[in-house]
């Protein structure tokens, strides 16, 4: 059984049909990049995978759990699915350490000591061990995003959803964040990234999914997608971004 199974998912915003029957299976340890123009539904699809958005038809299961927007289901999913956002969404009134320790102590009921050990470990992993007591506003964008990654990892998720995590960063800060993600990919965590970083998609992912008009238009290994696009739309897209 795949870790993530998306079965004929349809989503509407009122009359707007944004997801038109999406099917996708993702195995444990896979690194998937979802690419496509803005408005193609890629972020929406990602947000459906952990219950931030609802869908009207079809089904999604992650780690044997059905994904719905009901609070109890979202809470259960939080133990399997982590998410990293474009705008980091760190809690500005808490230190870096508190940001990371909050959910493990409250949701996973870890002791403060346990959570502190995990938080330090995760911060070391993203190269920010010395920032434990800093506040988010004292950090650069790239550092904030790495803290957000550490915060998600502290919940030991099986899947990490990354929603355009480098789009809000200054160009010189993109590299440090992608390096961390690349390292996670090597460690075998399942990653699903919505991204505009085509080089990253080509070099790191196992599979690239091209979305267009609310559908999965084309998918395959990055080599095929970027070098031998089958459809006219993907050809145009690849030419416009590379």
């Amino acid at each position: 059984m795949p870790l993530v199974k998306i079965n004929d998912v349809h989503k509407y915003y009122g009359d707007l049909h944004v997801l038109k029957g999406v099917n996708l299976s993702i195995k444990q340890g896979e690194v998937i990049c979802i690419i496509g123009r803005s408005g193609s539904g890629k972020s929406t699809l990602l947000r459906c995978m952990n219950g931030l958005e609802d869908y009207q038809k079809g089904g999604i299961t992650v780690d044997y759990k059905e994904v719905t927007t009901e609070d109890i289901q979202v809470k259960a999913l939080a133990k399997s699915v982590g998410m990293i956002f474009q705008n980091f969404n760190l809690f500005p009134h808490l230190t870096v350490g508190q940001n990371i320790m909050l959910a493990p102590t409250i949701v996973l009921k870890q002791s403060t000591e346990e959570a502190r050990v995990v938080a330090k470990k995760m911060l070391t992993k993203v190269g920010l061990a010395d920032k434990f007591d800093s506040y988010p506003e004292q950090l650069s964008g790239g550092q904030q995003q790495r803290v957000a990654i550490a915060r998600a990892l502290a919940m030991s998720p099986k899947v990490l959803l990354c929603d355009e995590i480098t789009s809000a960063l200054d160009p010189e800060l993109v590299g440090e964040v992608l390096k961390v993600v690349e390292q996670l990919a090597e460690e075998g965590i399942t990653l699903i990234l919505v991204t505009h970083e085509m080089n990253f998609a080509r070099d790191v992912s196992d599979r690239v999914v091209f979305m267009n008009q609310g559908k999965i238009w084309e998918e395959g290994p990055p080599k095929d997608i970027f070098e031998k696009p089958q459809t006219e739309e993907l050809k145009l897209f690849v030419n416009s971004v590379l």
Binding site: V74, N89, I106, V107
Partner: protein, 216 residues
Amino acid sequence: MIEFSNIDIIRNLLIATQWTILLSLAAFAGGITVALLLTAARLNKTPLLSIFVRIYVEVFQGTPLLMQMFLCFFGLSMISIEISAWNAAALSLTLFTSAFLVEIWRGCIDTLPKGQWEASRCLGLSFLQTLRYIILPQAIKTALAPSIGFSVQVVKGTALASVIGFVELTKAGSMLNNATFEPFKVFTFVAIIYFILCYPLSWTSKFLEKKFNASR
């Protein structure tokens, strides 16, 4: 006729001022408690609850505080619930205060980025946990200045309790006026005392507002 010296007048006014302060504190404490409950109800996604809060706010903001006090005092006794002037004043001021605080806080909470809610949700925090650990600590910072600013309205609002016979500063003032026939003097003292009560509050509010804006 008893002669009242200035000192007598001021002493009597200050005794009554204690009741004004007490009533203000009761109204503010009650108002904060009710407003917290209403805020939680409003943010909850149950439509019925948020409609209730909307109506509540509209009713208590859209009618004069004096009418609310009359209704609490005379209305309740008409349906044979005996209520003292103190209780009626405290109750109506609580309702009035909570209706305004809920609106002030709504603004403060709604200006927080939606991402704060989403990140909390993704980390598995429940609605109340998100409110407690993420939303309120941030919203309180912005809500403090306007809330304290509004407390000036509460202090001045307590003057209306004089109409239902509760002896606070204003009532004591009119009683002393009846005894001394020196309205200008007596009510000048009354006004000065209200100012002394209110000025520190509005000063604090302005100070906090500046401090908060500077830190952004």
